[in-house]
Amino acid sequence: MKEMLKINNPHNDDKVIDACSIFGAMDVSGKSFSGTGVIKAINNMHDRSNGLGGGFAVYGLYPDYADHYAFHIMYLSEIARHQTESFLKDNFYIVHDEKIPTKITEGIVNPPLFWRYFVDIGKQKPEEITDDDYLVGKVMAINTTIEDVFVFSSGKNMGVFKGVGFPEQIAEFFRLDEYQGYLWTAHGRFPTNTPGWWGGAHPFSILDWTVVHNGEISSYGTNRRCLEQFGYQCTMQTDTEVVAYALDLLVRKHNLPMELVAKVLAPSFWNDINRMEDGKRELLLTLRQVYGGLLLNGPFTFIIAHEGEMIGLTDRIRLRPLTVGEKGTMLYLSSEESAIRLISPELDNVWTPMGGEPVIGRLGKPLPSHKELVGTLR
């Protein structure tokens, strides 16, 4: 899969355009639950996707291997598997590996071969590089230099399952009803190109970060060129990739808290910033001045997740839907309220957040009320 770009976007257009259904569920107490409800919920929004992509991310997935990086890898050939496994042996210590269990599913045509590996970073890693940077570099190396292989999940105690089909078909194919996790996100895809490539489905993931995304980033050209300055090469031509790299830059490298990252991706309007009290005004003004190239413009809703955290965010004028539901320690994010109501009819709270206002669920932290959320940013 050297030419990922061509596989993902055979027409070599600007970028892959897609619209979608998205769903997220998190138990902030950390209790694991099965995927049955999430599958039912995303299936309820069947018509928002067109069978060309579905996927899930599950956190708290591998408690037995919680301290090891879990690679989910798809292969188009056995040769690719042999090459990749020898690469993995050269660069990592493989604790355990196995075929990802699947079952024959109606509507799922010609799937790749799926394998998972639990690895430790070995002594090969130069000391001056962090574990995460080392891992990212190796994942990029596999994806760009070995043919017919794609690493689509590489975090700890989490995993991504995705492919070409409706989300409920993907769930059946990967037997997701048999897994447990404390945080699930799900995606049904409606691409306007027809790539039919399993790697092109959502969630998009690097390390333990995942993004599911409904929307089109009209600022893609600006964002991509901004990220290039920081060494990120956007090869997949999906706007979701831009979001993943922007998160990596802002959270991991620039150490900004998620509330402020949301203000970079979907900043307040200049007029609103001008009206804020001094400290906050200066903070948001500076962020917007410096990170203007990372403003995501155009219609979008994301559900971003990583270990212990789930974030819902829409564009500044909320051109794509997001509904939030709460029930006890459960937080739900969904394109449509109906999907939440289907699996949790009696909600404590349900609301539509303002454009650009992040909704953040964190492990071990009780859900703040709607009003508190609006005021989170000091």
Partner: protein, 501 residues
Amino acid sequence: MKTLVPPKFRVERDPERCIQCQVCVNQCTFNAQYYDAEDNLVRNREENCVGCHRCASFCPTRALTISKNPMEYKENLNWKPGDIEDIWRQAESGGMLLTGMGTDKSYPIYWDHLLLNASQVTNPSIDPLREPMELTTFLGRKPDRVHVNPESIQLETKLAPQVKLDVPVMFAAMSYGAVSLNVHESLARAAANMGTLWNTGEGGLHETLYKYGKNTVVQVASGRFGVHARYLHAGRVVEIKIGQGAKPGIGGHLPGEKVSADVALTRMIPRGTDALSPAPQHDIYSIEDLTQLIYALKEATNYTKPISVKIAAVHNSAAIASGMVRAGADIIVLDGLRGATGAAPKVIRDNVGIPIELALASVDTRLRQEGIRNQASLVISGGIRNSGDVAKAIALGADAVYIGTAALVALGCHVCQQCHTGKCAWGICTTDLALTRRINPDIGSQRLENLLRGWSLEIKDILGGMGINALESLRGNRLHLRGVGLSDTELDILGVRMAGR
């Protein structure tokens, strides 16, 4: 010596309509019409007509029509009339040919080969009448990242000085002396009212205009005219002028006739003396010298103002610009081949430099390749004619643009290219006190504000159509551009795809 150059224009006067009021005679500063008292008739000296339309615009009975002199030469695709007449002029004068305004040659205008995008179906366009649409732009050096204390959420990064523009269009450098005080005042007031900047040019800042300092770029050019501590402190931005698109590598020459008492005072030179700006800045013979001047100006202004450096777009602009950013420039100004001038040798104006679109694209690309694009804002000038050009410039990578000719046209300029004569009939490019009164700053500033307001509305419509509601999301967004009628190499330099791809 009798000139062989035939008149360029015909002045036709409808005898039925003409009432011999002599408005045309009084308005024409080139002496192309006169009153014949004996016959009670207004007559023409067509050889003097420059085609500025001042007479026709003010004729109360619309008796005048100015048309091209239809006199034809033997058809020749090699020797065009202009080539022949230029030779006659030089054979008659023995000097360099001087001219004004930007080049009138048919070099490609790349703006006209670039097309903008709009949203259809997959994402909604945004209606600027119903949704916020943001044009705010901040010029100045930006750091690579912001440091925030993760515990207290306190900002730990202090930005270098930033200048806020409400509209990404500024008024280009035109010196007092080249243009009149009334023009300066019109520009300054319009800039202040519209939240943008105007530029003094290299002739200093007239005492009465210091009150517009917050909206003023004060220029420091090779002649150092009118540069002193108060001047530097008055401005919002200090701009070092290295070169000008209309005359790269050439200095300036304000003839003594234009150095009136007020001009002399402002420029700090004796009245009636020629104001000569050397070709280079004589303290900048290399890039390390530029660093010294940049930091001298930063020291002089206590690091409170961005320092801008303006160069003409030339062949190796990208490498030069990179050096300028590393030398400490906070803003880089590129002035293109089609940029205008109050006076320049015609051979330079028409033959030196490169089109601004190509220079902009290559400089923006180079600065990004080197990871230093954020360290300086990029401003371009030279040939911006309308808001479509502005949007395309921003999509190619500019932070903002300067307009010179367009601003003068808003004031009434008819682009007759006589700026160097000092006889501007529209009262713009002159210091003749009788003529400068033809620009009323109350009306002039209103016309300029109207222009900027109109362009702002249009840019907002363009952005909304693309599904974007902030200008920074168009900046450098070349995916929103497509090329037509361009070669692969041109597309490659511009970094845009062919329409249809």
